[in-house]
C-alpha cells in the first residue's frame, strides 16, 4: 500500500514537472513584443501594427499633444494616453484577424478619423 502511494506521488511529481517545464519554456520562447505608438491630433503613428497570435505584446502609448484614448474593443484593450507619460498595455492576441482601435476621448474636429488597426497574424 505504502509503495503504491509512493509510486503515485512520483508520477504526479513527474507530470507536474513536465507541465511546469513546458509552460516556462514556451514563455521563454516567446518574449513580449514591444510596440511604441504615438498619439497626436488626429492620428496614431504607426496606425497599423502587426502582431502574432499567442505572442504577448506590450503597447507603449505616448501622446505628443493632449489627452487621448486607445480603445480596441474586440481585443479588450483600452487606456488613457496622458502627455508626458508612457501608458503600457499588455495583451496576448487570442485569434488572428484585423481589429480596429480608435481614440475614445473626444479630442477635436478630426477625432472621428483618429483610428488604426491591429493585424494579428497566425
Amino acid at each position: 500500500m505504502k509503495s503504491q502511494r509512493c509510486f503515485f506521488a512520483l508520477i504526479v511529481f513527474f507530470v507536474m514537472s513536465a507541465l511546469i517545464f513546458t509552460v516556462t519554456s514556451s514563455f521563454a520562447e516567446q518574449p513580449e513584443q514591444v510596440i511604441k505608438i504615438t498619439a497626436k491630433k488626429f492620428e496614431y503613428t504607426p496606425n497599423e501594427i502587426r502582431v502574432k497570435k499567442g505572442v504577448p505584446v506590450v503597447l507603449e502609448l505616448t501622446s505628443s499633444d493632449r489627452l487621448h484614448g486607445f480603445n480596441c474593443p474586440e481585443l479588450g484593450i483600452r487606456s488613457d494616453i496622458n502627455p508626458g507619460k508612457i501608458a503600457r498595455v499588455r495583451f496576448t492576441p487570442p485569434r488572428s484577424g484585423t481589429f480596429v482601435f480608435f481614440c475614445d476621448i473626444f479630442c477635436g474636429e478630426g477625432h472621428e478619423d483618429m483610428s488604426g488597426k491591429i493585424i494579428v497574424e497566425k
Partner: protein, 297 residues
C-alpha cells in the same frame, strides 16, 4: 395593446414613417390619477450648426431652418421640442464655440413653440467639459414632468471618455427612487447607452449602470441621437431609439470599413436627414412616432 417586437415597425406613407415605440406594458385605469393627458413633442438631433462641408451638405445653413419652418407649419403645434445633442459642430476655438452655440440658440427661438429643451453632444461639450454650453444653455442633465410623463435628460458626453460619471449615476438613482415602477418615463441621451457598435465609438462606457437602474421600470423608453440614423434596440424590455441627424447621415453600424459621413446625393437631396414627432397618449403606454424627412412635410 401589446406590440410584438416582430411587429415593431408599422411603416406607412412616403417621406414620413409612422410606427409605435414602446415595450407594450399598458397601465389603463391609472391615467387620471397620474395626471396623464395626450400630448405631442418633436425630437431633433445632431443639427451640427457650424458644419460647412459643401460636399456633405451643400445646404448646411438651410437644412435646420427648413425643418423649423416645417414644424412651425404643423397644424397642431408640439407641446415642446427636444434637441438631443450635437447642437453645434465642434471647434477648438472657444470663441467660435460660443458663437455657434449662441447662433443655434437664436435660430431655435424662431420655433413657434417656446417650450424648447436642449442637451449637449460631445461636439458641444466634450472639449471644455461643457463650460461654454452651461454659460448659454444651463445644466447638462435635468428632469422635468409633462402631463403625467417623467422625462430624464442624461449627459453622457461632457466627461472625457464619454461616460455618465459616478456623480450623475448617483443623481439618476436618486431621481428614479422618487418614481413608481409603473410610471411612464422617457430618457433622453446623446450617445447610445448600450454597446451598439463600440468599434465606431457608439456606446457609453458606463451606460450599463444606467440601464441597470432602468430595469425595474415597466414603461421606460430611451431616445437618443449621435449615430445620425434611425436605430431600434431593446436591452431586456427597455427600448432604445436613435433619431436621424439634421446635417449628414452616417452609415449603418459596421456596414463600411471606416465610419464617415455619407456624401450628398444630388438626385436624392436631404436623404437620411430628418426629425420625428412623438405622440404620447394618456390611454396608451406606447409612443406613436412619425418620422419626417427634411423635405417630407
Amino acid at each position: 395593446m401589446y406590440i410584438d417586437r416582430r411587429d415593431f415597425f408599422k411603416l406607412t406613407g412616403i417621406g414620413t414613417a409612422m410606427f409605435v415605440l414602446g415595450q407594450g406594458t399598458s397601465v389603463f385605469g391609472a391615467d387620471e390619477k397620474m395626471g396623464r393627458k395626450d400630448f405631442m413633442f418633436v425630437q431633433f438631433s445632431d443639427t451640427h450648426w457650424g458644419f460647412n462641408d459643401h460636399k456633405i451638405n451643400p445646404d448646411f445653413a438651410g437644412t435646420l431652418k427648413k425643418s423649423i419652418e416645417a414644424v412651425n407649419s404643423m397644424r397642431s403645434q408640439p407641446d415642446f421640442v427636444m434637441f438631443t445633442g450635437d447642437l453645434t459642430h465642434t471647434t477648438e476655438d472657444p470663441k467660435e464655440r460660443r458663437k455657434r452655440l449662441t447662433e443655434f440658440r437664436d435660430l431655435i427661438k424662431t420655433l413657434k413653440v417656446k417650450n424648447i429643451k436642449v442637451m449637449p453632444g460631445e461636439h458641444d461639450a466634450a472639449l471644455d467639459n461643457a463650460e461654454a454650453y452651461k454659460e448659454i444653455f444651463g445644466e447638462t442633465h435635468y428632469t422635468f414632468q409633462h402631463k403625467g410623463v417623467n422625462f430624464i435628460v442624461l449627459d453622457n458626453v461632457s466627461e472625457p471618455g464619454s461616460s455618465i460619471g459616478d456623480g450623475q449615476v448617483q443623481w439618476l438613482a436618486a431621481e428614479l427612487k422618487n418614481l413608481d415602477h409603473d410610471s411612464r418615463v422617457i430618457v433622453f441621451t446623446h450617445r447610445p447607452l448600450f454597446d451598439l457598435y463600440p468599434q465606431w465609438d457608439w456606446f457609453t462606457r458606463d451606460g450599463s449602470k444606467a440601464i441597470e437602474l432602468f430595469m425595474p421600470f415597466k414603461n421606460l423608453t430611451v431616445l437618443y441621437g449621435h449615430i445620425h440614423q434611425e436605430h431600434h434596440y431593446f436591452t431586456g424590455h427597455i427600448p432604445h431609439h436613435a433619431a436621424k441627424g439634421m446635417m449628414f447621415p452616417l452609415p449603418a453600424p459596421g456596414s463600411v470599413p471606416k465610419k464617415a459621413p455619407v456624401a450628398w446625393n444630388p438626385s436624392q437631396p436631404y436623404k437620411g436627414l430628418g426629425y420625428r414627432r412623438l405622440d404620447a397618449k394618456a390611454k396608451k403606454a406606447e409612443l406613436e412616432v412619425t418620422e419626417y424627412s427634411v423635405q417630407g412635410v
